[in-house]
Symmetry: C2
Subunit: 578 residues, 2 copies
């Protein structure tokens, strides 16, 4: 059995397997979602109309034993940015698709009428079922019911109430290893795209799957070993290392110390209270409560940065509380209480909201007077407005820029309509260059300059040096390539510093594909993805003028460094040579 | 006294007269607002931030005895489109500025804090007063109070509650001859720009004004005569002609007959019930009720297309009920009852809403389920949500595209974020070319192809012929020039057909300016304005991809002609030779 595409027509409620075209064989993950979206979606279509498509693609090595490779890309035209979108998630759902040799699921058309559907994908066929009984409900309860109905071994993808009301802040939800709805391809409103088509859930049952085809076992095994060695050696990724011990939230103290942890809708870069919600404090608390830490988001991960956060006493396991979520719903809202933040994160997961967009939204909502900064209880009530589909809920579900416009707030931390993540670009310039210039809208993962600027990975760079075009470009290009492989971006910490690790990645690709790529092929591969995305965006109306940060970052100084974002337009345009 | 600019700094609460720069002397109205905005406003600034400016400029002949020349341009960066905006209004406020030799009022900066201010402009000075007591109130009552306080002879510009809540659908209001708040520079959300600066009202007292300087009386008088002759001869503009007898609403039956009167959020182009709200029926009704018809919007108008609409029994005079307003709040909402439409129009005037944007918004709100099509009472309740500043009100006050996003409606009749006026581009292609390509966002007045396609003015053209780039361009260029003069666009009906009329316009300009322009200079003058605006928009991130109609006009056939908008992208790009 060769690799295949599952084409799902929601207008006709038909799903058909097609052979993966020969020129797509070397494409996986983001390379495949962006290629299909660029080829098949009119850049000027309405993102919530019948002519948008939603594409799911596991990475090239996803489903193999390659370490830390359980990633899935979800792509489409974004209702949040109006441009192309790839949102990335770690989940065994991805690995199941990989082992079924499904290179992509392409959801197209639109069901007319109010019914929601569930699509069950088995190795040898598909089935549509009405899903109305699971609409208008929280995802925690719903996932429990779905696992009861479909068995514990399936993977589940779903969208929540935020998507049902077309919220541009809605993400696409995936199960974590415990079956909780805590893993998200969160960004860019792709949840609303899925819901707009009448598709509420995808259940993947891999029974009988042949596994990922590996054309050169020797190369593959060699690659696995090299990469495993790198991951288990590097300080950031090794067992007992920073990520393994404290999770992504290890960054709270680090970025706060650097003066770049945005507080209260990006009005300061530092607050002593941030320490109360640090990764270190959280890890202690998880231990006390009886949560789980470390933990993996998908089997086969060496890094294991994940965790299971719970209410006090180990009750109501929620899944992971990541750094970005914790920051967005915490310090960015002036909230320095892990339980408040945890409940906000749980509410976002339950409703199908991107936590970064939700936290950005809450920050402007607080600036706009809907709640006081720091009032976690009121923030939770506001999130519940989405659950109740109130007019306020409809505003909030559309994210940061939308909420700002509704409330007349002019300090709006978005690029291309998407909310900024957890690093203030005035304190750390390179990440600002990435925010501004990635085709994805403000996105730290698109070119994680923090690695070099703050963590000294892949070299060092002064965070305050505004010459960061080259650093950001190199990282963006490498990231796009990694996003195609199915490896977690966090392998970058190791492979940027340990050349054998990068070789190992390429070896595993050669193993799967039967190719003879070298590490020198990586930048070209990544650049091709970026070019595809930029071409789509250009056809959707984007120009270099959209590769800019919002005005207030250029005018308003950030404490404690009292700097503005002083990267010139020329430097920004140098990223892609515009 | 030479012409001057009044520069109003709202940060410092200072207003200073400056001499009009020599290179601005030949610029008036839209030529001057667009030039100042392009020169002084960062195209990437937040439209509701301190760095946007709001510019008021009467036309070059405004304030003279030239017929039908009481027009004012209001310009700035639009919070609705994100591009440059010129909104145009007929009001004696314009004439007063002209006679005071104030070529432009430039409002800049932003008052910090919650206070609203009133700026009184006298011939020899200015005064700021707190205006908080008139905030959060309807404009009908407020204008009454303002006239009581400042006397009956002043002109009043103001913004309403819709602007106070930053609504992108808010316009800038001006007094009509009776002092009612019925004349609007409505489009593009400039009301919110004014309110964002803390400026609530401008009162103009022209006592002691020197009058418009006329450098060549002979040329001027000759021009006035030629133009007067043309206006009083042409069937559309003459006394007892179409506009004079029935007002702009004469178009209801004509456009409905042509199959281009959008019904129920642009889902049909014709409905027999439209006749019930026609200009003919309305004129009869006004006569019965004891309203006024014909009537002028500003003194010196020969055409006199305006009116005073009232409640039954002649009560509560409202001001004019224009064709666009009547259509937007009527057939576009499935409402075919003049009293319902009148009350909706009154509510829009009272709150400071652009009636076209409000009607477009109501159409998508009805499609989104907030009310049934045709339910005028519910529509009025929805408008009242704005008055009450509820979350629903904050959605609606932001216009058509915003409301559509909040409700998940994907049939969104906007270009560059601005709601389409009262002609369906699938039935009448040339006006669609104007909607798509004008720098202003969907705007019929920017290049009124209806004149030629439907009314046979300036030649004839088959409405269904999709080759309309040249027609639209010529009209857009001529319109930009007219918008600089201060003449009402409606003189175009006469001067497109009667060459002496156009000569008369140029003669009056030569009279005022002491120049020796010819009719051949008009296109170049107009093109310069368009180029200035397009350059601003380009710097704000606009491309040819924004010169397109929304997807559904290209996919969904319109009854009764069952046509889509079939003008090619190539034809659209031919307008400006992109």
């Amino acid at each position: 059995m060769s690799k295949r595409i599952l084409r799902v027509n929601m207008t006709k409620l038909e799903a058909k397997f097609e052979d993966l075209p020969a020129d797509f064989v070397a494409l996986g993950g983001r390379a495949l979602t962006s290629t299909i979206v660029a080829k098949e979606v009119d850049p000027l279509c309405h993102p919530l109309g019948a002519n948008n498509k939603l594409v799911f693609a596991p990475g090239l090595v996803t489903g193999t034993k390659a370490p830390t490779s359980g990633r899935l890309s979800v792509g489409g035209k974004s209702p949040l940015t109006g441009g192309i979108k790839e949102a990335n998630v770690g989940t065994n759902f991805a690995q199941k698709l990989g082992r079924m040799r499904i290179a992509a699921v392409v959801v197209e058309g639109m069901h007319k009428g109010d019914d929601y559907y569930l699509l069950k994908i088995k190795n040898d066929g598909t089935e549509f079922m009405k899903a109305n009984k699971w609409s208008n409900k929280g995802l925690y309860d719903t996932y429990k019911e779905l696992y009861k109905e479909f068995g514990n071994k399936v993977g589940i993808c779903g969208v929540g109430i935020a998507a049902e009301i077309s919220g541009a802040a809605s993400g696409v939800c995936f199960n974590d290893p415990e079956g909780l709805p805590s893993r998200y391809a969160g960004r860019g409103g792709l949840g609303a795209v899925m819901a707009s088509k009448g598709l509420k859930f995808i259940i993947v049952d891999e029974t009988g799957a042949p596994g990922v085809e590996i054309l050169n076992e020797e190369a593959f095994n060699m690659g696995v070993k090299k990469l495993w060695n790198a991951l288990t050696t590097h300080d950031v990724t090794k067992p007992g290392g920073a990520l393994n011990s404290f999770g992504t939230s290890v960054l709270v103290n680090i970025i706060n110390e650097a003066g770049g942890l945005p507080q209260r809708n990006f009005s300061s870069g530092q607050d002593d209270r941030s320490e109360k919600v640090s990764g270190e404090v959280k890890a202690d608390e998880i231990k006390k409560r009886g949560g789980v830490r470390p933990h993996f988001c998908s089997p086969g991960c060496v890094i294991q940065c994940s965790e299971v956060w719970t209410k006090p006493g180990g009750k109501d396991p929620m899944g992971v509380l990541e750094y970005e979520s914790l920051w967005a719903l915490g310090p960015n809202c002036g909230i320095y209480n892990l339980d408040d933040i945890g409940e906000l994160n749980r509410a976002c997961n339950d409703l199908g909201l991107d936590t970064i967009e939700a936290g950005g939204m809450m920050g402007v909502a607080m600036e706009g007077g809907l709640a006081e900064f720091g009032d976690g209880k009121k923030a939770l009530k506001l999130i519940e407005e989405i659950k109740n589909k109130t007019p306020t809920g409809r505003i909030l579900a559309n994210g940061t820029a939308f909420t700002a416009q509704a409330l007349g707030v002019t300090r709006v931390p978005v690029v291309k309509g998407q909310s900024l993540p957890a690093y203030d670009p005035r304190a750390i310039k390179g990440i600002g260059v990435t925010y501004a210039t990635t085709p994805q809208g403000a996105d730290h993962t698109a070119g994680y300059a923090i690695a070099t600027e703050i963590m000294g990975v892949g070299g060092t760079a002064d965070p305050k040096d505004p010459k960061k075009a080259e650093l950001s470009r190199n990282l963006q290009v490498a990231t796009a390539a990694i996003d195609a492989t199915g490896y977690c971006l966090f392998i970058a910490f190791a492979i940027l510093d340990i050349p054998e690790g990068l070789e190992g990645v390429v070896d595993t690709l050669n193993g799967v594909l039967g190719t003879s790529l070298t590490v020198d092929d990586v930048p070209g591969y990544g650049m091709q993805i970026i070019n595809t995305e930029r071409e789509f965006n250009k056809a959707a109306g984007f120009t270099d003028k959209h590769d800019r940060l919002p005005e207030f970052f250029l005018k308003e100084k950030l404490a404690p460094h009292n700097e503005v974002f002083n990267v010139t337009d020329e430097e920004l345009d140098k990223v892609w040579g515009a």
